[in-house]
């Protein structure tokens, strides 16, 4: 795995963005762009990232960005790629779409599925803060079970949509999960994806202080708990091969996983969570890891 000395010093985001204090996405974006390098064109739908990119006339990144309507990210990236192919620049320039969980799992799923089915040569990164945070914390398809949002005041009654699996079902060469609290792992995954031809999908859990309800200083800790409890395992599926990422390896042994309650009680959005939902979390985590074991053994 890369270490701090491998991370390039170049910065692609100007200092002073409009992100909330403690926003994991700002960190994720900063390191993803470092890994991608200067020959990159970005496209971004309506999301917190639109806010990061700043106002007309003052681009916050040192890389060009095409803002695009909410539902269109996969299609917009496809349009950029087609134009680069026409100009013979497709091998030189990397096209990267960065969208939130609402823009990915809900309104943008059709355009993303279309782009993946066509084998569009681009990276699609979903930074998943598990609700529509930019519009004031409404539930999305990626909001986890039992979480309070402005539109699920009694807690969400359905579990989180498993988007990486849906993308895997498209038969694309690279699917990975990542977490803003494991930045070297994330950096490595973006570097790897950049050099693979075809559609690459990286789904990154992105802790959100105002939406999840915790002190901004605890972002890294909260994000880590999601992985340490076994709820958000880090892995790659590269050309069909399942690879468990280093931070998650020890969680193959259930005794190394922290209890899910540690993750849940640290966040105000779960403050009214019912015991039954906690039980559901535990059986979900167990099933998830059984499947991971099966996949590792059977390949």
């Amino acid at each position: 795995m890369v270490n701090v000395l491998d991370i390039v010093e170049d910065e692609y985001i100007h200092p002073g963005t409009r992100m909330c204090a403690g926003c994991a996405m700002a960190l994720i974006y900063r390191f993803a762009l470092k890994a991608l390098g200067p020959k990159t064109i970005l496209t971004v739908p309506a999301s917190c990232l639109t806010v990061l990119h700043g106002m007309q006339g003052f681009c916050t990144t040192k890389l060009s960005v095409l803002h695009t309507p909410f539902a269109t990210t996969g299609a917009a990236a496809s349009g950029i790629v087609s134009s680069l192919e026409e100009k013979g620049l497709a091998d030189e320039i990397c096209v990267v779409a960065f969208a939130g969980d609402g823009g990915t799992t809900d309104i943008g799923i059709q355009a993303l599925s279309g782009a993946a089915e066509r084998g569009t040569n681009f990276i699609y990164a979903c930074y998943d803060n598990e609700a529509y945070m930019n519009t004031g914390v409404q539930r999305s398809g990626s909001t986890p079970l039992g979480a309070f949002t402005a539109t699920t005041p009694g807690g969400k009654t359905r579990p989180k949509k498993n988007m990486p699996k849906i993308l895997e079902a498209h038969g694309i060469p690279y699917v990975a999960t990542a977490n803003g609290s494991y930045i070297f792992d994330l950096y490595e995954k973006f570097q790897k994806a950049r050099d693979i031809k075809g559609t690459k999908y990286i789904h990154i859990l992105s802790a959100c202080p105002p939406g999840w309800g915790y002190d901004p200083k605890d972002t890294i800790k909260i994000g880590r708990l999601a992985t340490e409890t076994g709820f958000w395992p880090l892995y790659e599926v590269f050309n069909g091969k399942f690879i468990l990422s280093k931070p998650s390896k020890k969680h193959l042994d259930a005794s190394n996983r922290k209890p899910i309650e540690e993750y849940l009680i640290a966040q105000k959005r779960f403050k009214d969570i019912k015991q039954q939902d906690i039980d559901n979390y535990n059986s979900f985590i167990e099933a998830q890891w059984n499947e991971i074991k099966r996949r590792l053994e059977n390949q």
């Binding site: 639109t50 700043g54 803002h67 539902a71 299609a75 134009s83």
Partner: protein, 432 residues
């Protein structure tokens, strides 16, 4: 003879017999589009099929992105245009409505995309047949909108449309519409120009936004604020200034549209009136039929018959629907006594759109003409010569009495045949 006044059959140029859809496809090929993105829909599909064939045979070196919806097609077109490619596509009715979100996006970002629209009714109920409902639905999104009357005009207008849209004084996306089936699937002989001549007329795109040039950092389409932003690094416009600039460019585009049309006429010998509207037998006329597309084509055929009755009547066929050529229409209609407007759509809750827009455009003229509008041919219902004739007679009668009727009036409805039908039962979904 086509509407440009050319007898194509005796032409010394290369003549092909093509449907309207294929005329559009040939024009897109000769305009050398770099990226197309489309989704099939009746009656437009033969455009994308023909383009696929051109690409397969190596006659067109374009990237053709076959996406999973028109919403994505429009988004991909916007993105490819912003990356610096010449972009064209085609759609109809529901396809255009699914694209709707991207239409003000394209005009606001000032992307010179050209869309061909084979017009079709908007459901429900389902109808794949022709009217202009889809075309008028997008009148407020900030696009240039042309309506064609025959297949040669479809071909010629496409070539002109790229030149107009890409002009640095314009930078506005453009739609080239033609009646579904009536033109889209009807074969006509058309003159095809040499590729070299088209290339001189329409040089390669040099777009002000070109994301593929990564040496220049660009943020395309970001957030604006109610007010302008002043910082030590510079001043940036607000949303209001952006939209003002679009409206200004649309207003000024009329000069470019005329200029490009005149240059086209000089080079290729075909003219469409003043480029904004076409006139037929209007020199001595005091009465004018005002319409567009297939309705104009039908009206053309009855002008002679009406003149035999002693009427001094002519036709104005609108070619440029947006920007609405207000100044030129006011100038033209000065001194005209009667205008009869036939709309192949309804501005629901009001009346035919052409009718009310013409009334508004002529507001305040001294001795204004008497204007009467009729609805014809929704959902592919035949527009018949007798409808036009009867409309003219009825309108002249009303003008004599100075009687203004506020209710929308129609030709071609067959309500008498439906005496047994219970509307309430039908609306519930009942049927026999």
């Amino acid at each position: 003879m086509n509407v440009s006044g050319k007898n194509v059959v005796n032409s010394k140029k290369k003549v092909k017999i093509l449907t309207g859809n294929h005329a559009a496809a040939y024009a897109l090929r000769q305009a050398r589009v770099g990226v197309m993105s489309a989704y099939p829909i009746t009656p437009q599909s033969p455009v994308v099929e023909k383009i696929s064939e051109f690409i397969e045979k190596g006659k067109l070196k374009a990237r053709f992105l076959l996406v999973e919806s028109e919403h994505s097609a429009a988004a991909a077109c916007c993105a490819a245009s912003a990356t610096g490619s010449r972009v064209g596509t085609a759609t109809s009715a529901h396809g255009l409505m699914l694209m709707y979100e991207l239409l003000p996006w394209a005009s606001g970002t000032r992307l010179p995309i050209v869309i061909n629209l084979a017009t079709r009714s908007c459901g429900a109920p389902w109808s794949v047949w022709d009217d202009h409902s889809d075309f008028i639905t997008i009148r407020d999104v900030g696009w240039i909108q042309f309506m064609c009357e025959d297949n040669q005009e479809i071909y010629d207008t496409n070539i002109q449309a790229f030149k107009i849209a890409e002009d640095p004084r314009v930078n506005i996306p453009t739609i080239v519409a033609y009646d579904g089936y009536i033109l889209s699937h009807t074969m006509m002989p058309i003159e095809l120009e040499n590729q070299e001549d088209i290339d001189t007329f329409l040089p390669p795109l040099n777009h002000h936004i070109n994301l593929s040039d990564i040496s220049q950092v660009k943020g395309v389409g970001p957030v604006t604020t109610p007010n302008i932003i002043k910082r030590k690094e510079g001043t940036a416009p607000g949303y209001y200034e952006f939209r003002y600039s679009l409206q200004k460019a649309l207003e000024n585009s009329i000069n470019v549209i005329k200029e490009v049309h005149d240059e086209f006429t000089k080079k290729f010998g075909r003219a469409y009136g003043n480029g904004l509207f076409k006139t037929y037998k209007t020199d001595d006329a005091d009465t004018i039929i005002f319409a567009m597309g297939s309705v104009s084509a039908q009206a053309r055929t009855v002008i002679e018959k009406l003149r035999e009755e002693g009427l001094k009547i002519g036709l104005v066929s609108l070619r440029l629907f947006r920007p609405f050529p207000i100044k030129y229409l006011r100038e033209f209609f000065k001194g005209i006594k009667n205008i009869i407007v036939f709309d192949r759509e309804i501005g629901y809750g009001y009346e035919g759109v052409l009718s009310y827009e013409l009334k508004a455009a002529l507001y305040g003229l001294k001795n204004p003409p008497f204007i009467k509008g009729f609805i014809v041919g929704l959902g592919g219902r035949d527009v018949r010569s007798e409808h036009i004739i009867e409309g003219v007679h009825k309108s002249l009668e009303l003008a004599k009495k100075g009687e203004i009727i506020y209710e929308t009036e129609y030709f071609g409805l067959e309500l008498d045949e439906l005496k047994d039908y219970d509307e309430q039962e039908f609306l519930k979904g009942g049927g026999k």
